[in-house]
């Protein structure tokens, strides 16, 4: 799957039991309070960036796939949606609520909802940011009771694989009779 070059969330549908814990963890991780109860008490809005859906009797969470050449980033007229080397995210202060990102995301991973930015209410785009601000990485991965979610680093894994291959190649070379000797 060459489109996933940066880190992304791998979902194992065979492990997912559809308990929605990842959704709650996602919503909680993006509040000031850091927990559902705390956020409710502080009257903070709760927004999950992922959604557990059911297809053909199987349940699994869907969220942003962290596209390399992300259409949501290309379409955004204000630069609110941006990509770093390792993730895509939305700067809600810049968002104008035009929904173009929602229109072009092939996976339905963006929605626009009411939020509070710098004390002012506005509507802005929401998407998974791989919990970049959370120590310990994605909250959904940490919360899933069946370990159906994992954060994958194809680049790193590819490197490791190619390193291993390179080592093997060198070994094979060394054991071969040297030409011309």
């Amino acid at each position: 799957m060459e489109q996933f070059e940066g880190p992304f969330l791998l979902v194992d549908p065979q492990r997912c039991v559809g308990c929605h814990t990842c959704e709650l963890a996602c919503a909680a991780a993006h509040t000031q309070a850091g927990s559902i109860i705390g956020a409710v008490l502080a009257r903070e809005r709760l927004h999950r960036r992922n959604r557990v859906v059911q297809v053909d009797g199987v349940k699994l969470p869907v969220q942003c796939r962290q596209c390399q050449d992300a259409p949501c980033v290309r379409v955004c007229p204000t630069g609110a949606t941006y990509r770093t080397e390792t993730y895509t995210a939305v700067d809600q202060a810049r968002c104008i609520g035009c929904r173009l990102c929602m229109m072009v995301c092939p996976f339905g991973a963006i929605h626009v909802a009411t939020t509070t930015v710098a004390g002012q209410e506005k509507r802005a785009a929401f998407k998974c940011d791989l919990c970049v601000d959370r120590i310990g990485g994605p909250a959904c991965v940490a919360a899933c009771p069946t370990k159906a979610l994992s954060l994958r680093h194809p680049q790193r894994e590819a490197d490791r694989a190619s390193q291993a291959a390179a080592r093997q190649f060198l070994k094979a070379l060394a054991s071969q009779p040297q030409p011309g000797s």
Binding site: L10, V53, V62, V75, T78, A80, C98, F107, G108
Partner: protein
């Protein structure tokens, strides 16, 4: 990086920043209405007036547009600055006395009512404060140029050319979202999105899967620019999620072989 002083506090802002960023960096509250981080600064509402003490002579400037320069000394609480901001909000209040947003802004600045005669714009746009955010978002960000200012003086208002149905409008709704006072009325009514304020109706396509009306016809150009949504641009986000989930399940056996345990 630029070092300057706001209310006697030293602050540092990146090059190219405006005074507003410096004020915010200092943790000082300053009202704004016509400012939006995603658009170029405009300086129309005058709610963000501050005193620029140094370089002398001291003068009032709109913090959202005035560039931050090293060594500047800014004061948000001089009597002149406070009085000017109150005057600005009083004028807004006399234009839109029924706007909750303006009333709250004014109250926060200690202004209960306007000393000026109430001169609300008639009809549709009674909540419009002429901040220009909708015009700017449509022009600068969306590039559709569907709306603009018409008329002069007291008759100045925002509308479509000749106040008729706009062919240029994409129906994205960014204008309605960005309007700070909620002056722009937009409604989805079955197969049409009606932008009452702009005398415009935009046709919506039903989602081929669930039938929900979703994609504005005027956005039919998107799949040409974004080939990845070629076959699915009419699908609503929920049905795209379903589709993504189905793909994922089908791809799993492939993934599994490549899955490393680390």
């Amino acid at each position: 990086m630029i070092h300057l002083t706001v209310n006697e506090r030293p602050v540092t802002v990146p090059a190219g920043a405006r005074l507003l960023q410096a004020v915010r960096a200092a943790g000082v509250a300053l009202p704004t209405l016509c400012y939006h981080e995603g658009l170029a600064p405009y300086g129309a509402c005058r709610l963000c007036l501050v005193t620029l003490t140094s370089p002398p002579p001291a003068k009032l400037v709109a913090a959202c547009v005035h560039p931050a320069v090293a060594g500047m000394i800014v004061n948000t609480e001089t009597p002149e600055a406070v009085a000017s901001r109150r005057l600005a909000v009083e004028l807004l209040l006399s234009r839109c006395p029924q706007s909750e947003v303006i009333k709250n802004l004014a109250a926060a600045m200690g202004v209960r009512e306007s000393r000026f005669p109430v001169s609300p714009p008639e009809g549709e746009m009674d909540l419009c404060v002429l901040c220009g955010l909708c015009v700017r978002v449509c022009q600068e960000a969306i590039g559709a140029n569907a709306i603009g200012f018409v008329g002069r003086g007291g008759n100045r208002k925002v509308s479509t050319p000749f106040e008729l149905h706009s062919e240029a409008c994409l129906g994205c709704g960014a204008c309605a979202e960005i309007c700070p006072t909620g002056a722009i009325r937009l409604e989805n009514r079955g197969p049409v999105r009606i932008l009452y304020t702009w005398h415009t109706r935009v046709e919506l396509h039903p989602c081929p899967q669930c039938g929900r009306f979703f994609a504005p016809q005027a956005m039919a150009f998107l799949p040409q620019k974004f080939p990845e949504i070629d076959s699915l641009w009419r699908l609503c986000p929920e049905c795209r999620q379903q589709r993504a989930a189905r793909q994922w399940v089908q791809q799993q056996p492939l993934d599994r072989t490549g899955t490393r345990s680390d």
